[in-house]
Symmetry: C2
Subunit: 429 residues, 2 copies
């Protein structure tokens, strides 16, 4: 009656899942809708930046050679023959002894090779003409932003799979991406299981608890860059469950179920997987929490059977589902970002399994410090609110002291890791 | 002709702006729409968690005292008198020598005070009854999650102004917040100025550049948690500009203009402020880039006149506009989060003004390392894409060497700082 399950290492479990990860489709969105999306192709410069030699300051464009003899005792006067506002072009050649009033960003007129800042000049009028004087020499090239000095045409500035932050938005605008190619957000379905579950709007009843996992995961899915679709709670009737899962699978890229994955009489998930012909990739992982995390595939479509326990569910999503989402969004580093941190408190418990401790990473004097969020019971919903990382404690260790350097996996991060699972000692029980 | 402006310190400038910051209105959104929003009231537990004594494992609920004499040599048998699935209640009193099969999360039946994990039991049938045996004693309290041990009813779990991450979503669901009170997103208008500007869909032309600032800021506004409204580019006609600004002000909480704030002939902004009766809070700050950042208020409504220079515009938004948005969202720490980091490269340039260098902060061996993103010309759009921080170099310093500890302000962060501006030495030229 009691099913035997063989635990596998976390890295091995992730590998099995990632065999079924695929890059998503591409769609064009308006640049104003592109913040927070992931670019679906390399973004290259369609022009030099600056596109022309231009002035970084308000001032006067001159021929540097004309200023060579200028000094405090011997100011040199220039006749001001015109004005160029940003966006305009001065279309005459500037002759010896002439200057052009130039605004920030305006193109350097032909003949000129230096700009004198407005503050360093003195203007006057004479004979119906405008003049300005300067009191020192300026070398050729002074205050000129040269064409292409920031970016050369053709340079790849943003790689496929990059998260669009405000700086990337600026680049997209600069290079004419009024429409931006982005990866379509994968759609991740969520089904809750468990006779004990109430929805948030329902009143509490004896023996029942409110369904927090589904709402937690809707947020995790959004944070990962996907679209969540919530199907509510499965019925307690197996045949109805099977139909509900089939229906959901037809509408989503991946399907997550929570609960129903423990080894117990009332858990339907194995029966559902069998009924739909799904191939179970693993159903036991050498980790805590989430040892009964199950992943299956059906014609290449991934089904995540996450624990009904909130912490185990949270960890299971971040370790196994999130990288599939990031891969669909073109990421070359789809896994949680791994960094070193100092442990903020003693963690004396011996540790037979690789443990993922929900933690808050802060910075003290330039160093990352990781402290478990709340006490570490796997039922503790309250400890999740502050968590921005997992502390990873490899299995087979005897406990840790404050100040020791440990690995952390960062949760509020868009960079990721290409593969964080080497040198994390796996543990088999 | 040349307007004299008196620079003020960054902290003083921020203070003047924050005098006009106000907390926003509150709205109710469905919990499924609440990810990434900011809660508008303290969230308290409407129940104990667990709400009843429950089993954290699949197993058998027993009276601990009945197991006292159990050993490998002397297994003790219990009659299994029922089964409790999660969500159900066993409504009889368990008598001496009896056990109840119990699922994870189910309530402990009356009379029982310990749970034995399924794996540690052996079942058999006899006389049409079901029995299980155990081979050791279990203390009272073994494997029981007690009512309220995670959260006590009435405890405040999430403070007003907290960013809703997946862990907060779980808490909201647990405590019945099907509708979540969140702060209304402030609406921030953006108007671009500059005859040189083309929109991203327009072809390049001599002397013109594409408008990157507006699109960059739309993303900055979204990142800060507000809604952006883009009004396009202002006409070159002053009267038309004044009308456009007035119209926009009526529709938004704050209005940002970019460009037009330098000291130059073609800059309309001071004239616009005068025409609408706005009170200029400052128009020169002792900082680079962004020294001409201007902020005005008109009947309490803030108008941000940011530089047309992309880097200066970016810095101006993060320093002055973002904290106003965060304050509207109830944050007690509305400013950029300040941390220490090691400088990744030499920065030899002497530094007469407080400088904000767009940088990429990475973690090496558990320590923050900040490296300027690209070369530090204030026109360099390309350096903005990787930036996730500003390095802050106080004015009056002579340059820095790699490895020195400096201040950074983090850009991709939802925690913030209450006040990061003390002990950053201001500089006046």
């Amino acid at each position: 009656m009691l099913e035997k399950r063989t635990p596998i290492a976390v890295g091995e479990a992730v590998k099995r899942v990632m065999q079924y990860a695929t890059e998503g489709k591409v769609e064009q969105v308006d640049i104003t809708e592109s913040y927070g999306r992931y670019v679906a192709e390399d973004i290259a410069a369609d022009q030099d930046v600056p596109a022309f030699d231009r002035s970084p300051y308000d001032g006067f464009a001159i021929r540097a050679i004309d200023s060579a003899v200028a000094s405090a005792e011997n100011p040199v006067a220039f006749e001001v023959v015109g004005t160029i506002g940003a966006g305009f072009v001065f279309d005459e050649l500037v002759e010896p002894g002439q200057a052009v009033r130039i605004m920030t960003g305006a193109p350097i007129p032909a003949g000129c090779d230096a700009v004198v800042m407005l503050e360093l000049t003195k203007g006057y009028e004479a004979d119906d003409k405008t003049y300005m004087t300067i009191k020192r020499a300026f070398a050729a090239g002074t205050n000129i932003s040269y064409r292409g000095e920031d970016v050369k045409q053709g340079a790849v500035l943003v790689k496929k799979g990059t998260y669009i932050n405000p700086g990337v938005s600026a680049l997209l605008a600069t290079f004419g991406y009024a429409q931006v190619p982005v990866f379509v957000k994968p759609v991740i379905g969520v089904i809750a299981t468990g006779s004990e579950l109430l929805e948030p709007h329902e009143a509490l009843a004896p023996g029942k608890i409110r369904n927090s996992n589904a709402y937690m995961m809707l947020a995790q899915i959004e944070r990962a860059g996907a679209t969540a679709k919530y199907y509510g709670k499965l019925s307690d009737d197996l045949a109805v469950c099977i139909e509900a899962v089939k229906k959901a699978m037809a509408e989503v890229d991946c399907l997550i179920t929570t609960g129903g994955v423990s080894v117990g009489d009332f858990d339907y998930l194995p029966a559902i997987y069998e009924a739909i012909g799904a191939d179970v990739l693993f159903n036991k992982v050498a980790q805590r929490p989430g040892s009964v995390t199950t992943v299956a595939q059906c014609d290449g479509q991934l089904l995540f059977g996450l624990s009904g326990n909130p912490s185990a569910c949270y960890v299971g999503f971040e370790l196994y589902t999130k990288p599939v989402i990031k891969a669909a969004l073109g990421s070359q580093a789809p896994h949680l970002r791994r960094e070193k941190a100092a442990l903020g408190v003693d963690f004396k418990k011996p540790n037979p399994f690789t443990r993922f401790v929900r933690s808050t990473v802060t910075v003290t004097d330039g160093k990352l410090v990781a402290t478990p969020s709340g006490f570490d019971k796997s039922s503790a919903v309250s400890s999740l609110a502050d968590a921005n990382a997992f502390i990873v404690l490899p299995g087979g260790t005897r406990g840790y002291e404050a100040g020791m350097q440990i690995d952390v996996l960062l949760l509020e991060d868009t960079n990721g890791s290409a593969w964080p699972w080497d040198n994390i000692v796996p543990s088999y029980r």
